[in-house]
């Protein structure tokens, strides 16, 4: 299989979104986290059973960094994604999102209940508990950030996301990509990642699976309660030996959960 790549323009043509896709089977749309999109082993695994569509959040598409300035807030973003799904001709898909992308998937499923057949949220953000504050990952030192996102900050998944391999030019390009991805997604959540999902989440109709890394040091697993108590019948699965990105540290395990929950 090879990953297909296309760029769709939405929002009166002002916002260009690159979409990676691969696979066969029921449609699945994956919304990445705050650190950018990478066609990783988890998506590769999902593509065995689903037609996977993975859009890049506005601003993070390499050729279109400034497109992010055309969006003013979360409402604009949700409308953009509605346009994108229409552009892809996808409806009634499994929506799956990680971290920031989890919040986006949940907002989309709340705004357009019909657009999601199943909803899978992996360590999503969207709520705030005073007793369990979420660290502002945008102002952490690089080493602290790695240690917050990954259970093993030196493991292959961490190196893949934050890696410093390669020549100086590649390293600089990687840092630009990562920084701009955090800035572009951060536009919708700064300074506290609670933008009112609690008022809207009751509109979600799709059966929902919550997947949480047991050792998530960024968004502690207690946040699963915030989602579970508002989504009747939501299932919560905790993944051992994983931090904030269980689908990257345990791709097989998380892909299996998704397959069992959202497979045709």
């Amino acid at each position: 299989m090879s990953v297909r790549e296309r760029t769709l323009a939405v929002w009166q043509g002002k916002v260009r979104i690159r979409v990676l896709s691969e696979g066969r089977g029921p449609a699945l749309v994956f919304f990445h986290g705050a650190w950018g999109l990478d066609w990783d082993p988890f998506l590769e695994e999902l593509a065995r059973d689903f037609t996977v569509y993975a859009p890049e959040h506005p601003g993070t598409t390499a050729e279109a960094p400034d497109d992010i300035y055309h969006l003013d807030g979360l409402w604009d973003l949700v409308l953009c994604y509605d346009e994108l799904l229409q552009g892809l001709g996808v409806s009634g898909a499994a929506l799956i999102g990680h971290s920031f992308g989890g919040m986006v998937a949940c907002e989309l499923a709340a705004a357009y209940p019909g657009c999601a057949r199943r909803l899978v949220l992996i360590d999503p953000i969207g709520f705030w508990r005073d007793a369990d504050p979420i660290a502002n990952w945008m102002v952490l030192e690089p080493a602290q950030l790695r240690a917050r996102v990954f259970r093993d900050p030196e493991g292959p998944a961490a190196r893949r996301m934050f890696g410093a391999d390669g020549d100086a030019k590649a390293v600089a390009a990687g840092r630009v990509r990562l920084t701009w991805a955090m800035g572009s997604t951060g536009k919708f959540i700064w300074p506290i990642p609670d933008k009112g999902l609690k008022k809207r989440i009751h509109r979600v109709q799709a059966p929902t699976l919550l997947v949480w890394g047991k050792e998530d040091r960024l968004v502690p697993p207690v946040y699963a309660d915030e989602f579970a108590r508002r989504l009747s019948g939501a299932r919560v699965e905790t993944v051992n030996d994983a931090g904030h990105a269980p689908h990257l540290e345990r791709p097989d395990a998380v892909a299996r959960l998704v397959r069992e929950f959202a497979g045709a």
Partner: protein, 417 residues
């Protein structure tokens, strides 16, 4: 030359192990462990007294600025300080230089336009209106403004401010970030069409462009002296030339730390520990605070990461003599200070509006007064005429003070109560 006394209003008594015990001087320094409100009241009053002393000693202007949750500078409202200074300096030719109230942290931002207009009225038209973008620490981390919106908000607020001061008709403002149904400012400033505008910056290229496009005075507020500022200020003057503006030195301002003694040894004996306190404790801030993602636009981000400037020195590894050698602080005898200021800063960077920081870190009140007096008496008179032979007009100084020596002028307000 116009030469103004700048003040940060720092905590002067941080504990000796401050920088190893706490993560930052800014955003997160714990108030209850580090400060006492009664003592802080004393700092504010010392700060005001020191600036008033400078005004009486012969400085052309007095400057205050805005920071939040910051132990090295905690004037969250510089206009409260400016208001006291405006009243206290009535009857003089000293400008009240607000460096200043930060537009993106004021909501709605016409609050700044209103308060500056008040200051201009109270001072009899002696206001210099600094309109800073604000630091990421203040604006993004303390006041919660989204980094990616920071500059856009500033630019919109800047345009609104200028229009609010000048518009003859009331107007509605339908902006992206601010909507105001009826803008009809009361009061308006005395100075017409508006008070001189200074835009402080810390070397960002986009701020050069903005300052030149709007024909304001660009002020580089640096703590690391003229040598490290040279490339940056050269870049500014290139933009000035490219845009076809005249190379008037008064369109540039610069902040320099200065300490004057009898001779070099006396200066070291008096000031060394206060200078080290400033660089070791007051600048103790985690690097990521300066650059939350999105604050820098994409073009600047690519430029910064692809061509990293020579890694900045870590001031914690430097001592007093390093700071003096490298020009972070210009210190020594009056003659040394005068010559270095003239060559490195005024001529070297082409600066017409010089600001000097004379209260540094833990420097106590009495020593600060002494430093101010020595500078005013032994240094300032020799610098004042530096640009006179070139014949430039300081368009960025209150018009009625442009030619004035700092002798008492017609009393405004003060004597009439």
């Amino acid at each position: 030359m116009k030469i103004s006394a700048f003040h940060l209003m720092p905590h002067r008594e941080l504990p000796p192990d401050f920088e190893s015990r706490y993560e930052s001087v800014w955003v997160t320094p714990p108030w209850w462990e580090l400060a006492d409100a009664g003592r802080v009241g004393q700092y504010y009053n010392w700060t005001l007294d020191e600036l008033i002393h400078a005004a009486r000693a012969g400085f052309d202007g007095v400057c205050t600025n805005e920071h939040h949750q910051n132990a090295y500078g905690f004037m969250p409202s510089p206009n409260l300080m400016g208001s006291v200074l405006a009243r206290a300096t009535n009857g003089t030719n000293v400008a009240v230089v607000q460096m200043g109230a930060t537009l993106p942290t004021s909501n709605p931002p016409i609050r700044v336009a209103e308060e500056y207009a008040m200051l201009d009225c109270i001072s009899g038209g002696r206001l210099v209106a600094g309109l800073p973008l604000g630091s990421p620490m203040d604006v993004n981390l303390c006041y919660g403004i989204t980094p990616m919106e920071h500059r856009e908000r500033y630019r919109e607020a800047f345009a609104l401010t200028l229009k609010a001061w000048q518009a003859r008709e009331m107007f509605a403002w339908n902006g992206r970030y601010y909507q105001l149904p009826t803008v009809n400012l009361w009061p308006r400033p005395i100075q017409q069409p508006h008070p001189p505008v200074w835009v402080p910056g810390s070397g960002s290229i986009s701020t050069f462009d903005f300052a030149v496009a709007h024909d304001v005075c660009y002020c580089f507020l640096s703590y690391s002296g003229a040598r490290s500022a040279k490339t940056m200020m050269d870049g500014y003057w290139q933009v000035v030339e490219r845009e076809g503006r005249e190379a008037n030195p008064y369109r540039a301002g610069f902040l320099q730390l200065v300490a004057v003694g009898d001779d070099d040894a006396d200066a070291e004996a008096k000031y060394a520990r206060h200078v080290e306190y400033f660089y070791h404790k007051c600048l103790h801030v985690p690097a990521p605070y300066f650059a939350p993602p999105g604050n820098q636009d994409y073009r600047s981000l690519v430029a910064a990461l692809s061509n990293p400037v020579r890694r900045a020195e870590n001031p914690k590894e430097l001592r007093y003599r390093d700071f003096v050698d490298k020009g972070y602080v210009i210190a020594g005898s009056a003659a040394t200070v005068r010559d270095r200021l003239k060559e490195e800063v005024v001529k070297g960077l082409r600066v017409g509006n010089l600001m000097v920081l004379l209260q540094i870190g833990s420097m106590p009140h009495e020593l600060t007064l002494e430093n101010i007096e020595r500078f005013a008496r032994d240094v300032l008179p020799d610098l004042r005429g530096v640009w006179d032979d070139e014949g430039w007009v300081n368009h960025w100084w209150p018009e009625r003070l442009r030619g004035a020596a700092p002798a008492p002028a017609v009393a405004v307000g003060a004597g009439r109560a």
